[in-house]
Structures are given as structure tokens and as C-alpha cells.
Assembly symmetry: D3
Homo-oligomer: 208 residues x 6
């Protein structure tokens, strides 16, 4: 006779009943998105594979000095509701991450060996810049313009944690010169010269 | 050759991949409502028109001294997730906004020219009342009973920001006298006289 | 030799370090209040007594048919940050809880033996009313006007959970007739007769 | 003529329009779950019965010294979005609630007559334990291991409020000995002896 | 004899006790800021003046075609915890609001008479641009680059609601050319020509 | 003449005024903790060094097969309000992370080269276990019991992101056997044998 088992089963039943507990909310990517993310996949369909992401290995470098990988809710649904995502980059010597902002995410950089210079500008126009080496972590506050580049010899590797499971990135050059924004409006709102605008529009394939 | 373009495209790809970024969450009004609002309309279906609301012009005054306009998530889906909505009123001389509360929204009044008297009562029964003139902004805390009236000569105009994209309004007279609430219960729970209750029930079309 | 102990101590140290963990945030009632409640009492000063509230016994009935008790963050600091509080009432035969609203809290009533009639009015003026008996739980949504009364014979007991650790209560009669709100403004914004207003102002000790 | 009625109707219309106000969000249990709960049942389908829960009466005791009842969002949809649920237990003399944790909920115990001993262990391994009697309320912080037992003579009754509308409960014995977790892994990660593990696996019907 | 008064007083006492209710949290600007804003001013020191802001009148136009006013928590402490602030601008013919982003706030523009052209660029580089006239409201999602200008004849007036009680603004030109950011880093991360950078650094008083 | 500069300065002034913008909230560790973390250090005292953490290098292995490092808000104040922290471990061959739970944090493991077996048990007693290799990321939901061990040859390295800036860790063995919890209560609430309890109490230095 195992009265204890029944006692426990009862307790479980008392609290969790026949409903499956909601310990996690793995994204159902086919469900409609709300302002707080994806709906939950039915727990009965969740398996161990939902919690494992296997594509975070950095591949071979491409011709532009970059190799990268990222895990966000759209390719790793277990991140749904966790409030952060993870990215990784390898920068060949001389490589640069251009000026951009993550509109909905703080960024934490975990530097590997080498010299990675990164910086951000606050809204009162103070520049915070630092050359990181292995064992350094750096915080870039949400929404602020920032950049990074390999400041040393040889390839470097950096890891990023972003405080959004689906971070949004606005690259200034692409927003201005890779879009259809009219040149005269760019000139009026940035004070850049028309020739400069046209040159970069040509480079970034923008129109207008 | 434009290696920079590809570099940028790569970066964009690294972060945003094939998934459309979630910069905004315009309401899909046909989707099921949750406690945090409507689901997002697919970004690929969002156009410039989703961000523009064109019906905020105040019309001609009606026979009861009022003309109004409001923008909430149900008629302006771009407000989804923003946490506020906007309303506008024009009050003819003598017009009154009766005693009411917004159960889920703080209210900020932006006064136009003229004299608009408004007030609220705190839960410890202190009365905060003020006659506003142009250049005055007034805060009415969430959930508290409040009112307003044109305290001067001529028509006045007021603008309201409410801290909910779909604010709920409970008008005391309608709750009591425009509903089916039994007169004996009103009497018991408000200490109003039966004759007074019946008089206002007749006025506000209540039953019971 | 106990290497395992050191291994565990190391792990603990790795995660929690010398800093005291933040498992709970018992209110420091003398600290400044913020919009999210009281600051935390230093964990090193927290004792078992902080988690125990001993004054929830309902006393003997008073001459007005009531006896009550409540536990909110101000008399039970362990509720800080939990988002709810608890109250208890005993109503003698005929006792009534007058029309009121909790501006920041949903209310759940857990009925004891007897007949407790309670109801609320929604913002579209629908009346939801029910006579509860033992084994009934009733939900009153945040901010809406509601009331309750002993609808049967003999004394009854009710328990309340409110979704705020420091709920705010606005009683309509006290707001109007127990305050300094000017009678002419009450008349203008509620359509009550002046005689009725004056009668209730006398009863509830209001001025104006 | 009743101009006031129209004035009020106008006001109501101005704010709430044709859309049904969102005073509450009763769960549509058939809708897809998100990380913030169920979608709202259409207000037009909500009735008074949605706000009443009638199954909270404690039944007759079972053979294992327990009788219980609980109200969570899955059996009482009006709790959707309220952030808490309610449970009730009756413990015969000698009954014990085994070591467990609620991963997403603080717990508040409201003790009835008798002696109910309950305690929790903080993450820095301090034990907070207390024998409660009628008129005592006790707080158990979210996520921490805790337990309870009837420490006196005769049957006792306890009421619980949990700060989640669908709390999750992890019982240590069931997690370890009622699951398929491999015995060698249990041994390695808990330092329990193999014989002890096998004995409890037999009792709790675990495999591995 | 007024038993009802005492009954009500009792009820009030039961719920609110001797503690002052927390209907609002007017900012104590001298208190330490937290990530959720300022601490609350003691309710006993709050007066009607705390709820009124009197400096929202637009002044006379300056020589640069602008006149403006704004109400944020720092000059209108009653906005503390409300989650939005309000600004107002008058733009002379030809005036332009340069490219900028609000890192923590959605923006809603309420257009006055005239033609106000405003636009934003999404993170996938789509341009959303519109010329607004009186009776138009426009939403600019949080964090995205945007701009505005007077597109017609004569002076225009615009009102803004921002979904932060203390919005942060990053102006691209000032961040790059009004700061100490090194010219070579600007060149490397924006692909602007050195001559262009130096020209704008001279204009905006930047160094580096 | 540089009218544009003044125009910009005006705009900046209009929005940010004399108040320092709140782009970030670096923890003032000496300020009183609230349920949402530390107060903000005054922005005027914040320097580049506040954003850099330099102690994340993993040291030499200790005699118990471990070496570790972690960055939480208490040693890296720039994490204040970001909602996550970062830890790193190196496990020699055979090393084990014992059964524990983080009461307030989801955990994401980023595996390095080698074989790291990790698993968690859900509240319905399903075991989710996986041996990770380089390029694998694994999610362990908040509050659930979990463990890890080096399952291969040689030393391995793992990185962790925890969804709390100050995560709390409860180790089951230490809670039970490293505390003062009475042996008879452990026996009653875990069904472990007295001899087993005493053996582990001796190992983990517990009393009672």
C-alpha cells in the first residue's frame, strides 16, 4: 500500500488539477503576435528539442571580415517571454560595426581576446568609449547610438546579450541612405551636403 | 564594387534575419483581445495610413452645448500598446461634465481659453478643485470621482490625455439611475431618499 | 575531508557572493514610498516575526453591526510587493456595505455561511448582482462601483482579497456629503436636489 | 423633454463609442494562452455567472487526512489578469504538506483554529518556521522551498492566497522520485545514497 | 444620533486605517530617482497646486522660428508615474525639427492648422511620411529616427504627447558633430567624408 | 553666425531642459533597495568606468574542479534595471553543479567545447535533459529544479545568462542539510530516512 503516493498525487491534483502547468511559454511562432510576444505552444507538444538551440556556432569568415550567429525568439522559441536574446560576432582585423541603435534593447558586450573598441553617445551628447579586452563586459543603454570596431591585430570574437527577445536595430546609414527618404528632406533635417547624401545613396542603394 | 553595402546588409541580416522587425504593434482589431490589448497587425500589411488619424476635428456644436472627438485604440489602431488615448471637447456656456471616474486611467486636462472648472475628490474625501485658464494643465488621478464645467462666458475647448488606450468611464448617475439597479438597493447603499431615486430614474431611463 | 561542502560553498559564493540574496522585500515602513511601494528592510534585520501577522482575528461586534480586520502592507510589511491584501468582515443581520469603489484593486469575496448579497455596475451600466452563500467566491472588477449587504437572518462573515497591497477605497456618500464639495457643484454634476444634498451633508458631516 | 439624458448619452458615446468597454477580461479558456494569460471572453457573452465560483466548499475528508478546494483561472475564469488564486485545505491530525515550491507565486496562509506549523528556507539557508493559530497570517516568498503540517490535535483548516492566477507547484519528492530522472544523476547531484533513492523511487512510482 | 456616519467611518477605517491612502504619487523631486521614477511626496504635503501646471502657454517666437513649451515630471511633478508627458511647439514658416529619436518614448503629434510634414524610418528602412493638417494625429513609434517641418505658409502649431514622463531625445547631428566623438571614428562608422564631418563639427561646436 | 546651433540647442533645451536626461540608471549601491532594484547614481557622477566590468576573466582552477566568475548588479552597477546578469564557469572533468533552482530567473546556458549535461524537471515531473556541445544554447525555465555536470573528458567552459540582475539560488542539499532545519521535519516532509538525513547533515554542516 502506498498512501504517501496518493497523498502527493492528491496535492498535485489540488493545485494543478487536470490543467497542464504553465512553467514555460515556448513560442508558437504561427500564432498571432501581441505586444508581449508570441502565444505559448501547447505544453503537451513541447519536447526537449524546444529548449536546445544548435545553430550558434560561428561559421567561416566571409569576404567582408565578418562571421556571425544569433539566437532570438524567431529561431529559438524557448526565449519567448525571457526578455533577452544572444548574438555573437567574429570581426577580422579592421572590421567595423557601423553606427546604430537598438530601439528596444540594452546591449551587453562580452569581449573575447584582442582589442574591441566600442562606444555610445548619451542624449546630452557625452561620448562613452572604451577599448575592451578579454575579461571585459560593457553596457550600452537602450536606444542610444553606438558602434564598435576591431582595434587591434588579428580576428576578434565578441558575444552580445540584448534585453529583448527580438531586438530591433536601426542603422543610421541605411535609414538615411538605403531607404527612399527624399534627399532634400535628408539635407533639411541633417544639414548634410547634397553631394555627400547622393554619394552615400549610391553606395547604400537608396532612392529619393 | 560596394563591399560596404554587403557588410551592412549582413549586419542587418544578422540581427533581423528574414523576420520582420517589431518596431510597432498596430492593433489587429479583428484579433482576440487580451488583458494587454489587441494582437499586432502583420507589419507587411501596415501602411502610412495606419499611423494617421484624421477624425479629430471637433464638429459643429449640438443642441446640448457639446461637441467632441476622441482617438482610442478602437478607432486609431496605432495607439495599441502606447498606453494612452486622446479626447477633445468643446463646451458651450453652462455645459457640465457630470460626476464620473475612469476606472483605468489618469486624466490630464489641457485647458484652452476661457474658464474651465474641474475637480476631483480623493479617497480620504479631500476636494481638489481649480478653475483653469489657457496655459493650464491639470492632473486627475486614476479612478477618482471628478467633474468639470464651463465656468465662464462663451464656448470653451479642452483637450484630454487619458493613460489608457481604451479608457473606461463610469458615470455615477447612469450607474445608479440609468441601470436596472433596484431602487431599494440604491436607497440602502446610498442613503438617498426613495423619491429622489425615482425622480432620477425617470430622468435617466433606469428601471428597477 | 569534505570537498563537497566546499564545492557547494563555492557555488553559493559564485552566485550570491557576499551580498545578501533578495528572496523577499519586507517593507521598511520608514523609508520613502515610491510608485511601486516601500523600500526593502535590510535582510539582515528580517526575522520570522516579519512574516507573521497576528491581528487578523475578528473582534466582538460593535454597536453598528460590524466587526472587521484587515492586513495591508502598512500593518503587515511582508505583503510589500506581493500585490494583494486581505480583509475580513462580520456583518450583523441587516448590515450594509455602502456604495464604493476601490480605485486600484480588483476584489474577490469569499463568502461564509448565510446570505451575502453583493453587486457591481459596469461602465456600460449593466448590473451584476448575486446573493452568495457558503462555498461561493465572487469577483468585483477594479474601479467599479459596488456594494454588499447581509441578506439573511443572523450574523455573516466574509473574507476579501484585494489586488493591491494598500488598496484605496472611495465611498460615494462620503466623497459627496462628507467632504467640503460645494452643494451647488454637487447639484450641477449629479442632478440631485438641493434638499437631498443638504440632508445627507448633515448626516455625513460635510460642509460646503 | 430630457436634454440631460442625451447629454449623458453623448458623453458616454464620446468616450466609449460603440465599442464595449473593457472593465474586465474574463478568460476565454479556449483561446490561445500567452505569457500574460488567456484572451478575454467577448464582453457581450459575459454574464453574472462568470463572476461567481460555486465549488469552493471543502468536501468530506478522504482516507489520507486531506480535503481540499481551489479556485484558479482554469476553473474560475474571472480570475484572469487578477494575479492571484485561492486554495483551501483541511488537514486531519498528523497530515503533512510535503516540501515543495511555487515557482511563480508568493503564498499567504490564513490559519484557522488549531496548530498549523509551516516554514520556508531562504536561499542563504536560513529557516523561517512558525506554528500558526487562528488569527495568524503567514507569508512564504515566491520560489522558496516550504512545507506545512498539522501540529496539534484534531482537524485543522487553512486558506491560501497565491500571487498567480495559475500557480505552478514543484514537489521535491515527486520531481526526484516520481519522475524518470536517472538514479545515478540523482545521486550525483543530491549526494543521496543509491539505496535511499531506490526506496523512494519505489514509493513514488518513478523510473530510471 | 448618527449611526450611519460611524458605520461609514468604521468602513473607511477598516480599509484605510490611520495610513494616508495612496491615490496618487506626486514626485518628490529632491528624493533619489529609481528606475521607476521619483519617490512620492508625502500626501499630507500635497495641495491643489501640485496638480496644476501653469507654464504651458507658448511664448513669443524667437529669432530662429521657434517657440515652445513642455510639461515633464521635472517641472510638473504630478506627472510622476503617469507614463507620459506633453510638449507644444510653434514653427514659423520654414522651420524644421532635425532628425532625432526618443529612446524611451512613443510620440503622438496632434496637428494644428497648416501643413506639418513629419516622418519616421522603421528599422527595415521603410519611410513613413505624411503632411498633417488640422484634425490629424500621427504616431511615431518608440526609438525610431524621425523629423518634422513646417511645409506650408505661415506659422503652425503642434502638440505632442510622449509616452514617458521624462522623455530622452537623441539628435543625430548633435550626437555626432556636437560631441567629442573623434572624427576618424565618425568617418569609420558612418562613411561620411572627412570634409563633411569637419564642416558640421564646426557648425555644431563639436571637438575631436 | 550659427543659427542652426542655437536652433538645436533650443530643441534640446525644450525637451531636456536643465534636467539631466535619464538614459540609464547605474545603481547607487549605497541607496536603499526597492522591489525594483537600486536607486540611480546621479548621472553627473557616472563615468565610462561605470559601464565597464573587468573581472570576468576565469581564474585558475581550484582543487575542487571549479573556476568561476559572475557579473551581477552588486559588482557591476550598470546592470541595474537591465533584468539580467551573466556568469561563467569552468568545470574540470567529473565536476557537478548540484540540484538547485533560481527562484527569480530563467537561465540560458551557452555551451563551450566538450560535453556538458544539463537538465531540469517541470512541475508535472517531466525530465528535460540534454548533453550540450559547442554551439548549443539551452533554456532552463524560472524556478524549476535543475543541475549540470561535465559529461566528457577534460575541462569544459560554460557561460550563463540569468534573467535577473541579482539572481537568487536555492541549492536543495544546502537548504535541507546545511541549515538548522530540524531532522524530524525533514523526515516528515521529504520521506527521507533519518540515517540519510544525519549523514548529509554531517557533510553539509547543518544542525537540528
Amino acid at each position: 500500500m502506498t498512501p504517501i503516493f496518493f497523498l502527493f498525487a492528491f496535492l498535485l491534483c489540488t493545485i494543478n488539477s487536470h490543467v497542464v502547468a504553465r512553467d514555460f511559454c515556448v513560442a508558437d511562432l504561427k500564432g498571432g503576435v501581441t505586444s508581449v510576444g508570441y502565444p505559448c505552444k501547447s505544453p503537451t507538444n513541447v519536447t526537449i528539442d524546444d529548449f536546445v538551440f544548435s545553430n550558434f556556432k560561428v561559421g567561416t569568415s566571409n569576404q567582408f571580415n565578418f562571421s556571425g550567429a544569433y539566437a532570438i525568439v524567431d529561431n529559438f522559441p524557448a526565449l519567448n517571454g525571457l526578455g533577452f536574446s544572444i548574438a555573437r560576432a567574429e570581426l577580422e582585423e579592421g572590421a567595423t560595426i557601423p553606427l546604430h541603435a537598438h530601439v528596444d534593447a540594452d546591449e551587453v558586450v562580452i569581449a573575447g581576446p584582442g582589442n574591441y573598441t566600442t562606444g555610445f553617445i548619451s542624449s546630452d551628447n557625452v561620448v562613452y568609449i572604451k577599448t575592451l579586452t578579454e575579461g571585459n563586459i560593457f553596457v550600452i543603454p537602450k536606444g542610444l547610438l553606438h558602434f564598435g570596431f576591431n582595434a587591434g591585430k588579428g580576428k576578434i570574437s565578441t558575444l552580445y546579450v540584448l534585453s529583448s527577445e527580438k531586438p530591433s536595430t536601426q542603422i543610421v546609414d541605411l535609414a538615411l541612405f538605403g531607404s527612399k527618404l527624399d534627399s532634400s528632406i535628408i539635407q533639411k533635417t541633417t544639414f548634410l551636403d547634397d553631394a555627400q547624401i547622393k554619394k552615400l545613396k549610391a553606395l547604400f542603394k537608396g532612392s529619393g
